[in-house]
Symmetry: C2
Subunit: 218 residues, 2 copies
């Protein structure tokens, strides 16, 4: 749908119309499904709005564990913005190498279109937040990246393996991907790696010596 065709636009001043068009567009994150399941309703896969909400609350509660001092407002803004590009680009499961091919290009185009709905100054701000999150070079982005791993890890652990088990992800892959938590918080990784050991013991991941044929993504 063209932004200009939204029924409320003609009733609003231009700046507010652009802001509202963006806010209506991002409603679609509620329909973008991720691989992990919901702890309290494991029949259902989590959507991006639910993920970003949970992720933001986790960052707020766990901020004290960041390796470096962080500006929590900037962290929360990055989190709220980080998956909006998936409206066009889709969710790429991090254990699926095929899904990662061309991801950056698809997301750049999505950012152009969706952030471009905003007034220019806000488009710039949101684009910068997203680029900062993606680059993982500032203390805020490194901490956010850690929690972005921890949130689905928590969902998978509390749904008896969830997406790990469904896709036959091996122990070493899970450890490799999640060890990145240490870049934002060595303290959290110290503790969470024990939870992952427990998950492996419970059979929530495929053993490393599983035959390649039994894994969806090897």
């Amino acid at each position: 749908m063209e932004p200009s065709s939204l029924p409320a636009s003609r009733l609003l001043p231009e700046r507010l119309a652009r802001q509202m068009n963006f806010l209506i567009e991002i409603d679609k994150v509620k329909t973008i499904l991720r691989q992990n399941r919901i702890i309290s309703d494991p029949e259902r896969r989590e959507n991006d709005a639910e993920h970003m909400y949970h992720f933001a609350m986790m960052a707020m509660v766990l901020a004290e564990y960041a390796n470096e001092p962080i500006d929590l407002l900037r962290v929360l803004k990055m989190i709220l913005v980080h998956d909006i590009v998936e409206i066009d680009a889709g969710d790429a499961f991090i254990y699926d190498p095929q899904a990662l091919v061309g991801k950056r290009d698809r997301e750049e185009r999505a950012a152009d279109r969706i952030f471009g709905l905003l007034p220019d100054d806000q488009e710039c701000e949101v684009r910068e937040l997203w680029e900062e999150f993606e680059a993982e070079e500032t203390p805020e982005a490194r901490f956010a990246a850690s929690i972005d791993r921890l949130q689905p890890l928590m969902c998978n652990y509390h749904t008896a393996g969830g997406a790990w088990r469904e896709h036959g992800i091996t122990r070493s892959k899970v450890f490799e991907r999640n060890s990145k938590i240490a870049r934002g918080s060595t303290e959290l990784w110290t503790h969470i790696s024990r939870v992952l050991e427990d998950a492996a013991t419970q059979g929530y991941m495929a053993p490393d010596k599983a035959q390649a044929g039994s894994e969806s993504f090897s």
Copy 2:
């Protein structure tokens, strides 16, 4: 489920175990359904996680319209916390007087239980954020209250009336409830009241002279 029975708790130091138990408990906001529908999937009612996500993004994008200077970090924290009590207390449709009976008591008990999962210092902080939101006496809480009205209004408008039409809410009720937007932002209310006039013209609300029998909540 008792917090102590959560499988990861025994693997974590006490403070982190309490934080994680809280973060797992609040996963349940993803299962608390509201009355309004989702713009991009009107077959489905919105849940509290989706509402809080969308509400937080609206506050971030529309902050410039607040009547008074606001601390956006505090606004975002209040928003992320404000509906957690509904895990126990349920969502009360603001147009249903019956649902509002005993609401405060139910929510106080929910706050005791759920916020009480956190370490004491964080329980205090989250409780204060929730009390501040509820009291609507600070500039931050007044602005948040405005956007808390605007978010479902936007969903109802863009789903051809949504919850207003399903429950036969009259024009005057909709205007009465939403005129509170002006307390946090007179500028937004000036513009949004025109959108509501348009919604009334389109038949998205019940006319005021409708017979009482045709309304679910009069």
